[in-house]
């Protein structure tokens, strides 16, 4: 993104954010699997599959745009 300044790409920070959040939400979903929260459609276990999606996307961004990859 930055040729003059050699700044770490913003996409790397996006990846870190999604990866960390995905891990937190995924683990939370697993721990409450047998005792889901009092929300509508809790039986769909949204935290597990949504957290998993965030982990995959965040991990991909972290690898693709890691600092120093193109230097």
């Amino acid at each position: 993104m930055s040729e003059k300044h050699h700044i770490i790409p913003v996409w790397f920070f996006v990846g870190v954010l999604l990866l960390v959040y995905g891990a937190m939400i995924f683990v939370t979903g697993l721990t409450e699997w047998s005792n889901p929260p009092d929300t509508v459609l809790a039986e769909t276990h949204a935290p597990v599959w949504w957290g998993g999606l965030l982990i995959v996307l965040g991990g991909t961004y972290c690898v693709m745009f890691r600092p120093g990859r193109n230097t």
Binding site: M1, S2, E3, K4, H5, I7, I8, V10, F13, V14, V16, L17, L18, V20, Y21, M24, I25, T28, G29, E32, P36, P37, D38, T39, V40, L41, A42, T44, A46, P47, W50, G51, L54
Partner: protein, 569 residues
């Protein structure tokens, strides 16, 4: 704690945040501060601090462009408007955005970019002179501060409804965080965090329509439930109810939407509001600057999925009827609370934290966008030309950093002013009508007609702004008498009034500009090269493939836009 708040906290489960939710919110604050300090070393010159070094790719500039407009204000305000007015609120995302974004990319961006201006008032200074530029700079600075207040209020609503945190605590923590990271990294920081916020908002809010559709059994199931909950009211058609003022809850007809919103309000906002234009000016070359708004328009078209649809789902599934903020009684919820209510309905620990962080991030990005634009306009269009003409570049960067902090403190004071409006978006649209609608007439005439003179530009802009404020005040003071006059129907609600107010103020601006032009002396052509369409050579991309041409993608986005209108007609 007042009675209403106490009852709400005591009776609601929304305020129970788990440890993982707090961890998610805390991590976001730490990350944006870390990014701000990391970027500080790169924001040394004026171009770095105010225009992010002009080295952003089309994708980064495009996401920041659309994200600067996708704050928590957007999420809360338009979800509330969707609950109040139905799917017609989507007009503000489609006819009220897409054609204007394409126009910006294909027609207007080359002028802004080629003239190497730092701001829209800066363009007016080159095209007309210091009078129009000063007026635009002052009104824009006032608008950004007031808009920051809107974001403050939106944040306070989230904190009240979902977290139960003291309002002052939330405002100060978030504002100081924004102040630190924008003052450190300037537009670099603002753009980085807008891109982060873009992803956060999508991943934090997208679960609501997904789970909402599962609960209601799809679109037809949702529509059936809305008809059951609100018999005889029209909430699910986009254009069909616009044949008459009385056939829709907004009290507007198609003329107000097409001309007031589509031709004036949206064109003015997306092509002359420096808050969004500044993001595109950060692009690394002219092709990126043209592509950025078009990339943004694709995402803008999809935003109703996470904003309008939750509002409609609220009509379908919420057990209570929401009310205007001005009519709120103990135990009730206002329109603007529909999104947090839906979030709490579907999201447990972890997901709730993600959704709340998305709203917090949206608030902070909205604040950052306003204060970074304010700092630029104040420094380049008011301070430098009128207060200190010659100073080293580092002096203006320091001024930009101080302006960031001062702008934040002033905007905190405006937050409480917003609370008297029934819907947040009514207030926002009224503000746009004051300043943006006439500005569009001035900028467009200046770009397309070389005959327009220095004084015509200034007097047209002044007349448009004054007429807009006058109409707003008259409709507030004596609505029974003046609303039917200006908004063409006594049924016109806040948004409908704003659209006609914008339309008439732009017409006033154009008429005055043309009349004054005819009796004053134009600038020589040599002074208008690069500023007016007929005197500017816009670089073409003859050797680029069709998939790299902004024109191709502009046509694609317009085709998708038309299809959406037909589907939801």
């Amino acid at each position: 704690m007042n009675l209403t708040f106490a009852i709400f906290v005591a009776s609601s489960r929304l305020v129970r945040l788990s440890g993982v939710d707090l961890a998610i919110i805390s991590f976001y604050f730490l990350l944006v501060l870390a990014i701000g300090f990391y970027l500080k070393r790169f924001a040394n010159t004026g171009e770095d601090f105010f225009l992010a070094g002009r080295e952003m790719t089309a994708w980064v500039a495009g996401l920041a462009f659309v994200s600067a407009n996708l704050g928590s204000l957007e999420l809360l305000g338009w979800a509330g408007s969707a609950y109040q007015y139905g799917i017609m609120a989507a007009h503000w995302y489609w006819v009220g955005a897409i054609p204007a974004m394409v126009l910006l990319g294909l027609v207007m961006m080359p002028f802004y970019y080629i003239s190497k201006t730092h701001s829209v008032p800066g363009y007016l200074k080159l095209r007309y002179g210091s009078e129009a530029s000063f007026l635009s700079g002052i009104t824009f600075a006032a608008m950004t501060i007031l808009m920051s207040g809107v974001n403050m209020y939106a944040m306070a609503v989230v904190m009240k409804v979902v977290l139960g945190w003291p309002i002052n605590f939330s405002i100060w923590v978030s504002s100081l965080t924004v102040g630190v990271y924008v003052a450190a990294g300037g537009l670099f920081s603002a753009i980085f965090n807008e891109v982060l916020q873009f992803f956060l908002i999508w991943f934090g809010a997208l679960l609501i329509p997904i789970l909402g559709m599962v609960e209601t059994g799809g679109w037809s199931g949702m529509v059936a439930r809305i008809h059951q909950n609100f018999p005889g009211q029209e909430f699910t058609h986009l254009w069909a109810p616009l044949g008459s003022f009385s056939h829709n809850p907004m009290g507007i007809n198609w003329i107000g939407i097409v001309f007031g919103l589509g031709a004036v309000q949206s064109m003015g906002y997306w092509t002359t509001d420096f808050l969004v234009v500044q993001r595109v000016l950060s692009a690394k070359d002219i092709r990126s600057a043209k592509m950025a708004p078009i990339i943004g328009s694709f995402f803008k078209m999809a935003v109703p999925l996470i904003v309008i649809l939750p509002g409609l789902l609220g009509l379908a599934v919420l057990p209570m009827h929401l009310v205007p903020a001005s009519d709120l009684q103990p135990g009730q919820h206002s329109y603007n609370e529909v999104l947090p209510l839906m979030l709490a309905r579907y999201c447990g620990p972890g997901l709730l934290g993600l959704g709340i962080t998305a709203l917090v991030a949206g608030f902070m990005a909205g604040m950052a966008g306003n204060v970074s634009a304010f700092a630029t306009v104040w420094t380049y269009d008011i301070y430098r030309p009128y207060l200190r003409r010659t100073a080293p570049d580092r002096h203006y960067v320091a001024m930009g950093r101080w302006c960031t902090l001062i702008g934040l403190f002033v905007s905190i004071g405006t937050a409480y002013f917003v609370m008297q409006f029934a819907s947040i978006m009514d207030y926002v649209q009224a503000l746009f009508g004051f300043f943006i609608a006439p500005l569009f007439g001035t900028v467009l005439l200046g770009m397309l007609w070389k005959r327009v003179t220095r004084w015509a530009g200034f007097l047209g802009l002044l007349a448009g702004t004054l007429s807009s404020i006058t109409m707003f005040l008259l409709m507030k003071i004596d609505p029974v008498r003046w609303v039917p006059v200006f908004a063409r129907s006594p049924l016109a609600q806040g948004l409908a009034r704003d659209m006609y107010q914008a339309l008439w103020s732009c017409v006033t601006c154009i008429v005055v500009t043309v009349l004054v032009t005819l009796v004053t002396k134009p600038k020589p052509d040599a002074e208008l090269v690069g500023l007016v369409y007929s005197l500017t050579d816009v670089p073409q991309e003859e050797h680029a493939s069709i998939f790299h041409k902004p024109l191709f993608w502009g046509v694609v986005v317009m085709i998708v836009f038309v299809i959406l209108q037909i589907i939801f007609w």
